[in-house]
């Protein structure tokens, strides 16, 4: 028998490394940049040209340098920074609270069949009920202030995390659990050394879904009833016909979403080096 690594994904990086050595690094870097971001760059360039030349209505689609200027002024004056801070606080604290409750609760529920069975229908119902549809209810209960905003985001972020964690625990390969048991592993050891690590990838699926949901709900909640926050700023700038500022806020939101996803991907890579899951 030959001892060969059967994994092709493992071999790919070494080829890429060989490529770097053989071709000038700069050219390779530029080549990659064009392949990855060329279309995005063309989109922005097209926007800029079309808007400056008047092919697009500049009142609706201002040239990008105006948007950039609005973004710059907003940041140095501190006005947009305040909005960013408020938004991050709302979404961030809520997301962390949902993680802090959802993961432990999911780990517990996933292990106890009776609990999971009893709670599953109601969880499914809650999940299918759009959090945004419930926002008026939360406003009635908690008022138009911070509490209702935070709660609607919390509600919407909790369920993806909770359900992903429960699912992850339930789907753990029973054969692996039995293997651990055959070596005399206790229940807590099995939990710590088999169930927990096996649940990490599905939990991350839930986390990333939750992060996206958190941002979506944040914007909606800020648009409906707030006087601060990036979501509020999008709406407010539009009312005041500060269209470059509106786009600046929209780009900021997109950037926040990308950054949140990026952080989670990096964290997942660190924690799940063993799995092949990408992105």
């Amino acid at each position: 028998m030959t001892y060969q690594l059967t994994d092709t994904a493992e071999q790919a990086p070494s080829k890429r490394i060989a490529g770097i050595v053989n071709t000038p690094r700069l050219r390779l870097f530029l080549g990659n940049a064009v392949a990855d971001y060329g279309l995005l760059f063309a989109f922005f360039a097209g926007w800029q040209v079309a808007s400056s030349a008047g092919w697009l209505n500049p009142a609706v689609f201002p040239p990008l340098d105006h948007v950039a200027a609005a973004l710059w002024t907003g940041i140095v004056s501190g006005a947009l920074l305040d909005d960013i801070a408020v938004s991050l606080q709302r979404a961030g604290i809520t997301f962390l609270a949902a993680v802090g409750l959802g993961i432990p609760l999911g780990l517990f529920m996933g292990q106890i069949r009776a609990v999971e069975r009893a709670l599953d229908p109601i969880l499914q119902l809650f999940r299918q009920t759009s959090a945004l549809a419930l926002y008026p209810v939360f406003i009635l209960l908690l008022g138009l202030g911070e509490a209702s905003k935070v709660f609607v985001i919390f509600w919407a972020t909790l369920f993806p995390i909770l359900l992903a964690t429960i699912g992850g625990v339930k789907e753990v390969d029973a054969k692996l659990v039995e293997m651990a048991r055959s070596f005399g592993a206790s229940r807590t050891t099995i939990f710590r050394r088999v169930i927990l690590p096996a649940s990490v990838p599905p939990i991350f699926v839930g986390l990333r879904l939750s992060a996206t949901t958190a941002l979506l709900l944040l914007i909606a909640a800020e648009m409906i009833g707030a006087n601060k926050g990036v979501g509020f700023q999008v709406m407010n700038a539009q009312y005041n016909f500060q269209i470059p500022l509106m786009f600046a806020a929209i780009f900021l939101l997109a950037f926040l979403g990308l950054a949140a996803n990026r952080v989670l991907v990096l964290l997942q890579r660190r924690l799940c080096r063993w799995s092949l899951t990408e992105h």
Binding site: M1, M179, A180, G184, T189, R193, V194, V200, C272
Partner: protein
């Protein structure tokens, strides 16, 4: 049975063992009043038609399944449930994908409360024994089926059991790898001086590896047949007596 292999430890005695399952309200008797003696250091192959209860017997021996009546004694003492003197090698390697080869092999000792460094030292020895010395840091997804199964074997050996229980461990491997692994198992069994109970559906494998072959009957309660394979080792599959044993076993299953 080669006399050199018989040691005092790892003796298995099965007395009046019965086991049935309830499926949809119906009782399915799988093992009925089974008696069996496995000498310490013996290599016993268990064969039988599919559904004849081979896996069930092995799981009862392992302590993964409780018998309805009767019981198992190890070195003369009755046992209930799992025990450190027994280790199981399953048909699938059952490796933890988030641990390297080294992590997987030391897993058994670690869950038994041995410190990581001590467990890893022992694990390294057995990783080399199964020929995977260069792959300590590989992830399970990087291994071929045969290599993964070797890791599973090393993991079981690392806890240094008296009794190895194997449920069709080579069943999923390709024909070439299987032949190599059969030789490896013989070598490991000789070196480690363990008692081995090996479930297999491959009659040639049974004759190649075992001192005795147990044939589980289809009719519950009928006496299982035991056949002595008194061939010298290392065994030669093309030798006349080997071939004759194969014919004898095939005849037991009504095959010719």
């Amino acid at each position: 049975m080669s006399v050199a292999q018989v040691s005092a430890k790892g003796e298995v005695t099965v007395r009046d063992l019965s086991k049935s399952f309830t499926l949809d309200g119906e009782t399915l008797t799988v093992l009925k009043n089974l008696d069996l003696d496995i000498a310490g250091g013996e290599s016993l192959a268990i064969v039988g038609a599919s559904g004849s209860g081979k896996t069930t017997l092995l799981r009862v021996l392992a302590g993964l399944e409780e018998p309805d009546s009767g019981g198992v004694l190890i070195d003369g003492a009755p046992v209930h449930g799992l025990g450190k003197e027994r280790a199981v090698i399953f048909q699938e390697p059952r490796l933890l994908p988030w641990l390297t080869v080294l992590g997987n092999v030391s897993f058994g000792l670690e869950v038994q409360g041995i410190s990581r460094s001590e467990a890893e030292d022992k694990a390294r020895h057995y990783i080399r024994l199964v020929g995977l010395g260069e792959f300590e840091t590989a992830w399970p997804r990087q291994l071929s089926g045969g290599m993964a199964q070797r890791v599973g074997i090393a993991r079981a050996l690392t806890v240094q059991p008296e009794i190895l229980l194997l449920d069709e461990p080579l069943g999923a491997l390709d024909a070439m790898t299987k032949l190599t692994m059969q030789e490896e198992l013989t070598r490991i069994w000789t070196e480690e001086k363990v008692t081995m109970a090996l479930v297999t559906h491959d009659l040639e494998e049974a004759i190649f590896l075992a001192d005795r072959v147990l044939i589980l009957p289809r009719e519950k309660g009928a006496h299982p047949r035991l056949i002595d394979i008194d061939l010298p080792r290392p065994r030669d599959r093309s030798e006349t007596r080997f071939v004759r044993f194969r014919q004898q076993l095939m005849a037991e299953f009504g095959l010719h």
